[in-house]
């Protein structure tokens, strides 16, 4: 009996340590962001909110935040606009090569981001799309198409397609069926996909690295550049704001669809 209790405690201690390892960088970043020191020191010698003030006064970060907001919104909406019809066709359509089309839509996950970034640099530079909102939105939309297709397909294949049939039999036009029957039923999948896409494009830091300019620069790239030149608690404060954004989106996804199902 005693060994059993001991074993249980050993397992719990192990799990606790693994969680500490897994969450260490996030926890440390949040703590450091409230530091009153001018250098990175742990534990901080005093506490303050001054680094948050610095972040909001920092024009680089404020500008980059705005760029990221525009790029992430534009890219996730554009990706949704092209992904939802495609998911409908894959789930309901009857055409040859369907399996191939589906795997083609999911294939981008298999191309290294650094390679995509370089390829887009080569193509976008001569077109004048480097360092523009259009270029960043197009690239990021392409990157997140697979995620929206996947969550939408998950909803489409688990909903009861007979509802659509019923509406159709009762004389509803295809667009009406979609608007009044299909869309309300698949909205959890669509929404999970779109908020996930928003977060992923907001955080994207590899492909964008090749496509930004000093004028149009996203927040993760501004942070990347900042870390390379100096490290002070200001970056921890920006990071904490991004962690809060992630947390909000994690809660939204967990509520509407379940994080585990959306991520797999």
């Amino acid at each position: 009996m005693k060994t059993k209790v001991l074993k249980r405690w050993l397992i719990l201690a192990g799990v606790f340590l693994l969680f500490i390892f897994l969450l260490a960088p996030i926890i440390i970043t949040v703590i450091i962001s409230f530091s009153a020191d001018n250098i990175l020191r742990f534990p901080p010698s005093g506490w303050s909110l001054k680094w948050y003030g610095e972040v909001f006064a920092n024009r680089d970060f404020a500008g980059a935040f705005r760029v990221s907001l525009v790029v992430a919104s534009g890219a996730s909406l554009l990706a949704a606009a092209v992904s939802i019809p495609a998911a409908m066709a894959i789930a309901r359509g009857n055409f040859r090569g369907k399996a191939a089309v589906e795997s083609f839509f999911l294939a981008p996950l298999l191309v290294p981001a650094i390679v995509v970034g370089l390829g887009l640099l080569l193509v976008f530079s001569p077109l004048g799309l480097k360092g523009t909102y259009q270029g960043l939105i197009l690239a990021n939309a392409g990157l997140v198409i697979p995620y929206i297709i996947r969550t939408t397909l998950l909803s489409l294949t688990t909903m009861d397609a007979r509802c659509e049939e019923a509406a159709q039999t009762l004389g509803a036009r295809p667009l009406t069926v979609f608007r009044t029957v299909t869309l309300p039923l698949i909205i959890p999948g669509v929404l999970s996909g779109v908020v996930l896409a928003f977060l992923l494009t907001f955080d994207e830091a590899v492909v964008s690295l090749f496509l930004v300019s000093s004028r149009v620069r996203t927040l993760p790239i501004a942070m990347f550049d900042y870390v390379q030149t100096r490290t002070d608690p200001q970056l921890a404060a920006v990071s904490t704001l991004l962690i809060v954004l992630s947390l909000v989106i994690v809660v939204i996804i967990e509520r509407i669809m379940g994080l585990r199902r959306v991520l797999r």
Partner: protein, 305 residues
């Protein structure tokens, strides 16, 4: 969650043409697929084709490009021993990080699969949520922890255990530690979602048949979770060998890998043909690992049936 209910029972419904002739015309499938296919073509198809073409040009000093159809970029790459080391270092890092993510992530995934705790779903979200936190943020966290004046070194020096800081950052060790933590959730995810066949019944059966803990692990738990483990290893490995942000920041410009070399050649040296050639070498490694994974999975299926 309303959709949870539907999930379990709903038969895979098939849309059959109904009796009445539908009013209005639905868009044909290709029109619905076209916008997505075009966007994917612009973002992946065209750039990859362009990269392949570019890799057959020759880079000239100072950023010039000599158009042509030669393998100069590839031969330049393979002639330098520095570049061959890049390949080995990249693959080595991939193996170390995959092993680390397995050794740490697998036990945690098993715990999350089997625990009866009322905190189970919260713990699962906590284990997966890091996936949705910016890689730049988590990399910065590791710099704070591992740096020369980071938490670990300050603590050890404060306790008088060491007098000079251990080099935990700006080298491969730091990159491996940070990447293990950053990619570990993928291992947890694939094992936890791909192991639904591991349930109470099979564990009871094993116990009834007189299997002890070790036997149960090696003959029941491990085989049933093997597909999830393999998929997790594949994901962690390919994400490691193509990772850029973490090696660039934690490595402090002193850890040279294929991905960092692609960036340096493209952005610093402006040698686009060479950068393109390295990209295709990376893609070839990707493809090789993928084929190996598919062979292994096929063999697992075959053994089972």
């Amino acid at each position: 969650m309303a959709n949870e209910v539907i999930l379990g029972e709903a038969p895979k419904a098939v849309l059959t043409p109904s009796g009445g002739k539908p009013k209005g015309k639905d868009w044909p499938s290709f029109l619905k697929l076209a916008p997505g296919l075009i966007l994917l073509g612009i973002i992946f198809g065209v750039p990859l084709a362009w990269l392949l073409r570019m890799s057959f040009n020759t880079g000239l000093p100072g950023g010039g490009i000599e158009e042509g159809l030669s393998l100069n970029s590839y031969s330049t790459f393979f002639e330098a021993s520095f570049n061959l080391e890049l390949i080995w270092r990249t693959l080595g890092l991939g193996i170390v990080v995959t092993a680390g993510a397995f050794l740490l992530g697998y036990p945690l995934a098993l715990f999350l699969l089997r625990t009866q705790s009322k905190w189970k779903s919260l713990l699962l979200v906590l284990a997966l949520a890091p996936l949705l936190t910016s890689a730049v943020v988590r990399t910065f966290g590791w710099i704070v922890i591992l740096g020369d004046r980071g938490i670990i070194n300050e603590a050890l020096m404060g306790m008088g255990i060491i007098s000079t800081p251990l080099s935990l950052a700006n080298n491969e060790l730091g990159v491996a530690i940070a990447l293990t933590e950053i990619l570990m959730p993928y291992m947890i995810l694939t094992v936890a979602t791909g192991s639904s066949r591991l349930n109470d019944a099979v564990l009871e059966a094993s116990a009834t048949l007189g299997g002890n803990t070790v036997q149960t692990f090696f003959r029941v738990i491990l085989p049933l979770t093997l597909p999830g483990i393999l998929t997790g290893c594949l994901l962690v490995f390919v994400l490691t060998i193509s990772s850029f942000v973490t090696p660039a920041l934690v490595g402090g410009g002193r850890v040279f890998l294929l991905a960092t070399e692609i960036y340096d050649q493209a952005v610093q040296s402006l040698n686009w043909p060479l950068a393109s050639a390295i990209s295709f070498i990376l893609i070839a490694l990707f493809a090789g690992v993928l084929v190996g994974y598919q062979r292994l999975m096929a063999r697992l299926d075959w053994n089972r049936s």
